[in-house]
């Protein structure tokens, strides 16, 4: 960054750091609140005593979650689904976006419309379900969770606009060297697109990690359920334990650890947030300035 000691620079610094501090406080608070509530006793939570720090420190909610025999399996499932799903997403999205970004592409307009219409019109759950289970026989398979969302058009458009912004000289000089579009795409364009790929990749990744609805609709066996689905079940169980004093209906295994509904609710949240916290620094490395080349001078 430019080393500039003038007054305006110092003013800028003040503005910048003041803003950052405000943002930090405002966004850190809910995170702290969630973490603290998950570590507080049922008593403290019920009485609304938790503000920033845990009150009556208590890890029962976490014990309960770790006690779940299905936890590691669900976690592993989610990792596989997320990794595989994101890979598929990136494969389909980058190819479509890059091709669409080249003006030479014949039928370019039609391909654009084909991608944009589904953003606005969709047949609904039942036709999709029939397609996936009856026609494609993918019921109870992870492919049903991954394939239907292979391309998110908004993400694709973001990528496309980035590809368009890459200088044409790169392509031209590569052609002169005898490369075809495939080679140009994989060997030149993709490596230059790390920032946008990481961003879009993050969007897809988070989407997979947080999803439970598809799992509920398309999966039939507990062995295949992802983490978020399982966490949701825990919260629902805890809510029903909390609420149903006694209505004489379904009584499943009442686990002691799940009686602190508020803590359980927040503990499952922390559980989902933690991997996101750990992933982001990894992605940030690709947001370092100057990744884009200076190889093409104007």
């Amino acid at each position: 960054m430019i080393a500039d000691k003038s007054v305006s620079s110092k003013v800028m610094d003040i503005i910048v750091y003041a803003t950052m501090i405000i943002v930090l406080v405002v966004t850190l608070y809910p995170v702290l609140y969630v973490i603290s509530s998950s570590l507080s006793s049922a008593n403290a939570n019920d009485r609304g005593l938790v503000t920033i720090f845990p009150v009556e420190f208590n890890i029962d909610a976490y014990k309960g979650i770790f006690h779940m025999p299905t936890l590691t399996r669900a976690f592993k499932n989610s990792v596989i689904i997320t990794a595989g799903g994101t890979a598929i997403n990136m494969l389909f999205t980058t190819t479509y976006a890059y091709a669409l970004s080249r003006k030479r592409l014949a039928l370019r307009g039609i391909y654009t419309i084909i991608a944009m219409i589904p953003m606005y019109f969709s047949g609904g759950l039942i036709p999709s379900f029939l397609l996936i289970s009856q026609t494609l026989h993918l019921y109870n398979s992870w492919w049903a969770l991954i394939l239907p969302g292979a391309i998110n058009t908004s993400n694709m458009i973001i990528m496309r606009s980035f590809f368009v912004s890459l200088p044409a000289e790169l392509e031209e000089s590569a052609y002169l060297d005898g490369a075809n579009d495939f080679v140009i795409f994989f060997k030149i364009m993709l490596p230059l697109s790390q920032a946008v790929m990481m961003t879009v990749g993050l969007y897809y990744l988070v989407g997979h990690w947080n999803s439970w609805f598809s799992a509920m609709v398309y999966l039939n066996e507990d062995e295949k359920m992802p983490l978020q689905y399982m966490l949701r079940q825990i919260v629902l169980l805890s809510a029903s334990l909390d609420q149903a004093a006694y209505d004489g209906e379904i009584v499943t295994d009442s686990s002691l650890y799940f009686t602190n509904y508020v803590a359980v609710k927040y503990a499952t949240l922390v559980f989902s947030m933690a991997p996101m916290m750990m992933i982001y620094p990894f992605i940030q490395r690709f947001f370092v300035k100057g990744v884009m080349i200076g190889s093409v001078k104007g």
Binding site: D13, P30, Y111, P118, P127, I157, Q284, F287, K289
Partner: protein
Amino acid sequence: MPVSAFLFPVMGGTDSPTIMCAVLIKFFLRKVRHMSTATSLQNTKPTGFKKVLHDIWASRWLQLLILPGLIYFIIFKYIPIYGVQIAFKDYKIRDGITGSAWVGFKHFKTFFTGPYAFKLIRNTLLLNFYNLIFGFPLPILFALLLNEVKSVFFKKFVQTVSYLPHFISLAAVIGMLSMFVAPSTGIVNKIINFFGGESIAFLTEPGWFRTLYVISGIWTGLGWGAIIYIAALSAVDQGLYEAAAIDGANRFHLMFHISLPSIMGTVVVMFILRVGSMMSVGSEKVLLMYNELTYETSDVISTFVYRRGLQNNDYSFSTAVEMFNSIVNIIFLWVANSLSRKFTESSLW
């Protein structure tokens, strides 16, 4: 090579489907021109249908690249699309989608002739409009300022923390919000009282709903929304800054005349996409925040459809309303894109 060439992504081109007619006319004119100069030149380039095939062959590797996505769209998006027809039918489970009776525009009529139609549409649009005006620029500003932070560690720390609220469930966020604005025990009112004011019952005053909605959106969406801009900023050539600094620019100049224009392409794309969802307000958040006393400003299309659906799962009605929303959204999108193409150099197509 002018700097602007890669600073401003250029879209457009003559292949835009929306000027299909213009293209057809163009080709017709070309044919006429060719005919009139038939004697002068040999027609070396094929025209019409042959031209299309020629172009496809010329871009064959690109066609191959686009093939996977194309197949995906056709299979997973277009085959099930027949389901939208229930917007024009009276869908009954026992009749299935194809067996249900056609009723034409009945559901659209029901929606529009209800006493609330105008209010719902107005509320939906206004909520999104306020979100656009206040919620859209802030992540950009945040990204620009973050870009100026010198300490790498601090920068990463703020970034990571700021995007975490995005992952907190809506119910938890709104729970916290209602805690803050509670009339008797909430901290906001305590501050107001401290300065001598009277407590405000934020959640039951129609006038405050939009403000709270937008503020809570900014609260959770700031960090997450800034990611794309941070990524775009990292792609800016550092040489530009050096060159400008040598010319005497201070940091404010750099921010507004280099950084901002550099990501303008991204900003425009994100803006157009946002405008393309102006009629869509999700029901989940509003349901958690509203109550009958604030319906005047808080009741939106999706929450009305939800309430109606509680009594009777009327899929047809909700599909019809969805369709109406989509069509309006497409119109907004079209307008935004056209304006953008005219006034800036970037657009979606």
